[in-house]
Symmetry: C2
Subunit: 153 residues, 2 copies
């Protein structure tokens, strides 16, 4: 994501106004290297600007995604994750704790794809799923993912 001042210009350029709420979000997202959900962004924003509504957070996130300043990720069931890093990178997803981390991958353009049949590829997403270092250590301690309570115990 570009820095707050450039985002302000970009917003005005397409007829969107630069409000205090949006500035808070610009700033929060700009120096954030994680993959927060809308809810957690709202929480962080509320600390800086009490009273900011979740509705407004969603609105601005949607705007930023539409402008290509923010990436929206669907890596797990449940809520979307938003990624201020729009450079060419990929993701590690921990099965245990749900953590998402950036990873840089070489050789993506060299993948041999069979069966394209006229499909025109715009972007390639690589997702590595497994277990993060933290969850490997205390091998059953720190995980925060809940088990399936579907079946009787």
């Amino acid at each position: 994501m570009r820095p707050p001042n450039e985002l302000s210009t970009a917003f005005r350029a397409i007829g969107l106004k630069v409000t205090p709420q949006r500035q808070v979000l610009f700033s929060l997202l700009h120096d954030h290297d994680g993959h927060p959900s809308a809810e957690s962004i709202h929480l962080a924003a509320s600390a800086v600007m009490p009273g900011i509504s979740l509705r407004t957070v969603y609105q601005t996130l949607n705007d930023l995604v539409a402008m290509g300043e923010l990436q929206q990720l669907q890596l797990t069931p449940g809520s979307s994750r938003f990624d201020p890093n729009v450079s060419d990178h990929h993701h590690l997803v921990c099965d245990r704790c749900g953590d998402v981390r950036d990873v840089y991958v070489g050789g993506v353009t060299g993948l041999e794809v069979q069966g394209l049949e006229g499909f025109s590829i715009a972007i390639t997403d690589v997702v590595f799923r497994g277990t993060c270092a933290t969850c490997l250590d205390g091998s059953s301690a720190t995980g925060t993912r809940t088990p399936d309570p579907t079946r009787p115990t």
Copy 2:
């Protein structure tokens, strides 16, 4: 996914019962090469067995996923897609119509990953996003994806 008779044996082996509803689902999923949602599976099942509940469909899909007979995919916001193809393959996702197709990819194990830092990779998912042949042809005709009605027009 394995054929219905083998699934029946596998279900009984872990203490799950083989009901008519489940047999219908086994059969429907076995010879299905697409990536249906729970809803569309329920629709197809209802044609064969009127009255089968969506709840039961979800239940059995979850069982099959837990057994590794079915893959659950989160490719887009919205509903999960279920994939009876559990062989080593990857996916094409059309941005316009939402269609999902199988694709076989070589060179996945040769990807150079930087920044693993102790992360242990179990599986690698590659998702190619772009435009399918059908949507490229009638270039604005066949797409069935709805635009964002978020902002005033």
